[in-house]
C-alpha cells in the first residue's frame, strides 16, 4: 500500500503531473499579467502548454561538436531533481514525504537544475553557451548569499520558539510555527527577509531583469542556443516548474499557517498564493525594469538583498 501511495505522490500529486500543470499555468499567468501591464491582450493562459507540445513535435538536432549523452541527459536530470524537490515542500500541513530533506538540502537540490543547464550548455560546445554558462554561474553566486541568510534567519526564528533555542532546518516545524503564531510575514522582524526573498525569486527562476544567462538579444538564449525539440521542451518545463517551486517555497516559508484542514482547499490556497507571489515578484519586475548588466547583478545582490537579510538576521539574533 505504501508503494502505491509513494507512486501516486511521485507521479501524480505533488510530483510530475501536478507540478508540470501548475508550473505551466503559473508561467502562463506571468506572461498574461506582463502583457496586460503593457496594455496588450497577451497570450492565453495555456500558451505554455502549446509551446511545450509544439516543441515536443519539433525535430531534435545534436550538433557535431556536442558530447551527445551529456547534451541529451542534462535536461532530464534537471527535471527529475526539480520534481523531487516538489515532493518535500509542505502545503499547509500536508507534506508528501516529510522526513527526507530540510531547507539546506533544498537549497542544494535547487542548484542541480541550474548545474544541469550549465553542463548541458557546456556540452553543446557553442561559444554563446560558454558565455551563457559563465553568466549563469555568476548569477548563482550572487543570489546564493542572500538566500542562505534568509533561510538561516527563519531557521533561527522558528528554532528559538519551538526547538528550545537551538536552530531548526525542518520545513514541517516552520509550518507548525506559523500554525501557532500566525504567518511569518506578520512578524515585523522578518519583513526585510521576506522582501529579500521576493527579490531572489526572479533571479533564481531567470526572469527578465536578471536573466543575464539566457539573454536572447545579447547571447542568443545562452546555454539553450543549441537545443531544439524535446530537450528544449524539457528545459522550458524546468523553467516553469522552478517558478512554481520557488513561489510555493516562499508561500510555505512566509504565508502558510493552519490552513483550512481540507486537502483540496489547502492545495488551491497554496497555488493561488503562489500565483499572487508570481504576479507580485516576477511579473511586476519583468514589466518595469530592463535587463541588468552582468556585474550589476552581482553588485545588486551582494548589497541590497544581503543587507535586508542581514538586518532581519541580526534582529532575530537579538530575540525580536
Amino acid at each position: 500500500m505504501v508503494v502505491l501511495s509513494y507512486l501516486f505522490y511521485v507521479l501524480v500529486f505533488p510530483g510530475l503531473l501536478f507540478s508540470t500543470i501548475v508550473g505551466l499555468i503559473l508561467s502562463g499567468i506571468d506572461r498574461k499579467v506582463v502583457a496586460r501591464m503593457q496594455k496588450r491582450i497577451g497570450p492565453p493562459i495555456i500558451q505554455p502548454f502549446y509551446d511545450f507540445f509544439k516543441l515536443l513535435g519539433k525535430e531534435t538536432i545534436v550538433p557535431r561538436t556536442a558530447s551527445r549523452k551529456t547534451f541529451l541527459y542534462a535536461p532530464v536530470i534537471g527535471l527529475l531533481a526539480l520534481v523531487t524537490v516538489a515532493l518535500f515542500i509542505p502545503m499547509f500541513k500536508f507534506t508528501a514525504i516529510s522526513t527526507v530533506a530540510d531547507i539546506i538540502v533544498i537549497i542544494y537540490l535547487l542548484t542541480i537544475p541550474a548545474v544541469a543547464l550549465i553542463i548541458g550548455g557546456a556540452a553543446s560546445g557553442s561559444p554563446y553557451a560558454g558565455v551563457g554558462i559563465s553568466r549563469e554561474m555568476v548569477a548563482i553566486i550572487s543570489y546564493e548569499l542572500p538566500l542562505v541568510i534568509v533561510l538561516l534567519t527563519i531557521g533561527k526564528k522558528v528554532g528559538m520558539a519551538l526547538n528550545n533555542g537551538a536552530i531548526t532546518f525542518s520545513l514541517s516545524q516552520i509550518v507548525n510555527y506559523q500554525a501557532q503564531y500566525g504567518p511569518m510575514i506578520t512578524k515585523w522582524s522578518l519583513i526585510p527577509a521576506a522582501i529579500a526573498l521576493l527579490l531572489i525569486i526572479p533571479i533564481k527562476v531567470g526572469s527578465v531583469p536578471f536573466d543575464i544567462a539566457e539573454a536572447e538579444t545579447e547571447i542568443c538564449e545562452g546555454p539553450l542556443v543549441e537545443y531544439s525539440g524535446v530537450p528544449l521542451a524539457i528545459f522550458k518545463l524546468n523553467h516553469a516548474i522552478k517558478m512554481f517551486i520557488m513561489t510555493s517555497l516562499f508561500v510555505t516559508l512566509f504565508l502558510s499557517g493552519k490552513g483550512t484542514g481540507i486537502l483540496i482547499v489547502d492545495i488551491l490556497l497554496q497555488v493561488i498564493l503562489s500565483a499572487i507571489v508570481v504576479i507580485v515578484s516576477i511579473s511586476t519586475l519583468k514589466a518595469i525594469t530592463a535587463r541588468l548588466k552582468v556585474e550589476q547583478v552581482l553588485k545588486f545582490f551582494w548589497t541590497y538583498p544581503t543587507a535586508l537579510a542581514l538586518l532581519s538576521l541580526i534582529l532575530v539574533w537579538m530575540g525580536f
Binding site: 550538433p63 527526507v100 559563465s134 554561474m137 532546518f169 552581482l298
Partner: protein
Amino acid sequence: MQHYPILSIVTLFLGAFLTVIFGSKNETVRKFIALVASSISLILVLMLIKPVMIENNVIQYWMGNWRPIHDWAIGIGLEVDSLGLFFGIIAVVTIFLSIVFSFRYTEKDSETDKYYVLFLMLSGSVLGLVFTGDLFNMFVMIEIMTFAAVGLTAFRNYQEGALEAALKYLVLGSIGSSLVLAGTITIYSQVHTLNMAQISALLFNNLTPSTLFAFALLLAGYSLKAFVVPFHPAAPDAYMSAPSSISMAFSGMVNKAGVYAIIRLVYVLYHAMSFKSIQLLLIIIGTITMFVGVTMALAQNDFKRLLAFHSISQIGYVITAVGVSTALGLTAGLYHALNHTLFKGLLFLTAGAVFYATGTTDLNKLGGLAKKMPQTAAVFLIGAFSISGLPPFNGFVSKWLVYQATYQANLAPVTIVALLVSVMTLASFIKVAQSIFFGQMPKEFENVKEVPLSMRIPMWIMAILCVLTGIFPNFVTKYLISPAVSAALNVGKYIDIMMGNGYAEKILGKPVEIPAVDYVLAGYWNPVAWLVLFALLLLAVTIVAVAGGFNTASLPVDGDDSKYEVFFGGEANEYSHVKGNDLFWGLKYDLRHYFGFMHDAHSGIINDYALWAIFTTTIFIVYIFLLVP
C-alpha cells in the same frame, strides 16, 4: 594483532630501501616491490579496523619493549587509537591508489626508481606520524615527510617552476620543522618526557607560560604542515609542479597528517578545547583559509594549481569544523577530511590523466576533451559534483554536517561564509569543466586517446567510493567517524592504556570525565529515500520518452552539411572556445580590488612567504599569551 602498526610502517620503509638496492635496473622489479609494500601495509591497516574501531580497544606498542618504569615513560611508544587509525586508513588507501596510478603515469619519466624510493619514504613517514605515541618521533616523521615531499616536487625538474617550488617548500618546511622542534623541546623542559600520553596527563591543569609558548609554537608548526592560509603559499607551487599521483598523495595524506597533528595537539595533549579563545582561534583560521583558498582558486588558469588552492580551502572546512569543539563539529571535520581525500584524489588523478594524454594542464590551451576521453570526463564530473557538494555525492553530507555544527554553535557568519565558499567551489569546477572537457577542441588535440586501463581503475575506485560515502552517511559515521571522535574526546583512556590504568586518576586526583559522543541534528537528510524517488521518476520519464519515440539512438547521426554545425550567427564554424580566463568576468570585475591584492600577496618571492609564516607565528604566540590563561 599487536605488531600490525609497526609492521605496516616498516614494510613501507623496507620497500623504499629494497627499491634502491634491486629496483634501479629494471622497471618491473621496481613496480613489483612498490605494489607489494603498499598492498601489505594496506592489508595490515585494514585488519586493524576490527579490533580498534569496532571493539574500541587501543593498541600500545613499546619500541624495544622499554616499558614505563615506576610511572615514567622512557622508551618510544606507538599508540594506535581510532583517531590515529582513521587517518591511517585514509593514508593507506591513498598510497595504494597512487602507486597503481603511477605505474603507467610515470613511464615517460626517467629515473623512476628515485620516484618510488621517495614515494615509499613519504608514505612510511605519514603512517609513522599517524601511529606514533611519542612527540619527538612525530617531529622526525614530519621531517622525513617534508624531505620526501621536496624531493618529489622537484622530480620533474625540466618542468617550469618545479625547482623553485621545491626550494620554497623546503624553506617553509624547515621553518615549520624548527617551530615544531622548538615546541617539542619546550614541552620537554617542563615535563621531562616525550611520551604523548604522559605529557597530556601532566599538562592537565598546569599551563605555565613555557607550556603555552610551546603550544603556540607547535600549533604554528603543525598548521604550516597542514598549509593553513597564512602559511599556504608553498603548497600551490608544490602541488602544481609535482607529478599528479604525488600531488594526489600530497592533498590526500600530507595535509591530512598536519590536520591530525593539530587535532592530537589541541584535543589530546593540551585539552585546550575547554578554552573559548582556542576554539575561536581555530575557527578564525579555518574561515580565512576557506575563503582565501577558494577565491584564489577562482582566479587560476592552471588545472592543478586550481586544485591545490581547493585543497587549502577544503582543509579550511576541516579546521573550522574541528574548531567547533562539539561532538558534531568533530564528526563533521573528520567526515569532511575523509571525503576530501576521496574527491580531491579523484580530481588530481583526472588532472594527471589530462596531463598524460595532452601534455598540458593549462586551462587556456585545452578544450572539448570529453569526446575523446569520455571516461575521464565522467569521472571528473563525479569528482566535481562531490567537491561542490551536490546532494547524492559525498561532499554534500559532510558540508551539511559542517553547516549544522557551526550554526548550532551560534556562529552564523561562519556558516554563511561556508555556504558561499561551497558555491564558489562549484563555480571554479564549472570553469574547469567548460575549459577542459566541454566546448570546442583545439586542432592539436585531434588524436588524443583515452588513458590506459591501469590509470582508469584507481579513478573508478575513487569515484565509486565518493558515491558510496555520499549515499550511506550513517553507515560511515557509525563504523569510522564516531569511534575516532570518541577517541579524540576521551583522553582518560588514551593515557591509561599507555601508562597503566589508574595513572590519569592518580595524577589528576579525580577521574577524567568521558564526554558523550551524541549530537542532535537540526534537520534531516535521507539520501536513500531521495534516490528511490529520483529513480521512480527516472523510470517514469524514460517510459514516457520511449513510448513517445524519443530515444537517443534514433537521433540521426550528424551528416556533413551545415545543419549540424554550431550556430555562430551564420558564420562558418571557426575555433572560438570560451575557456579559462574568459569565464566569470562579472565576478572578477566586481571583486577586482580583492583579486588584485590577493594576486600581489602571492608574490612568489621566498622572503615574503617566510615573512607571512613568521608574522603569523608571532600572532599565534601573542594571541595565546593574552587570551588563554
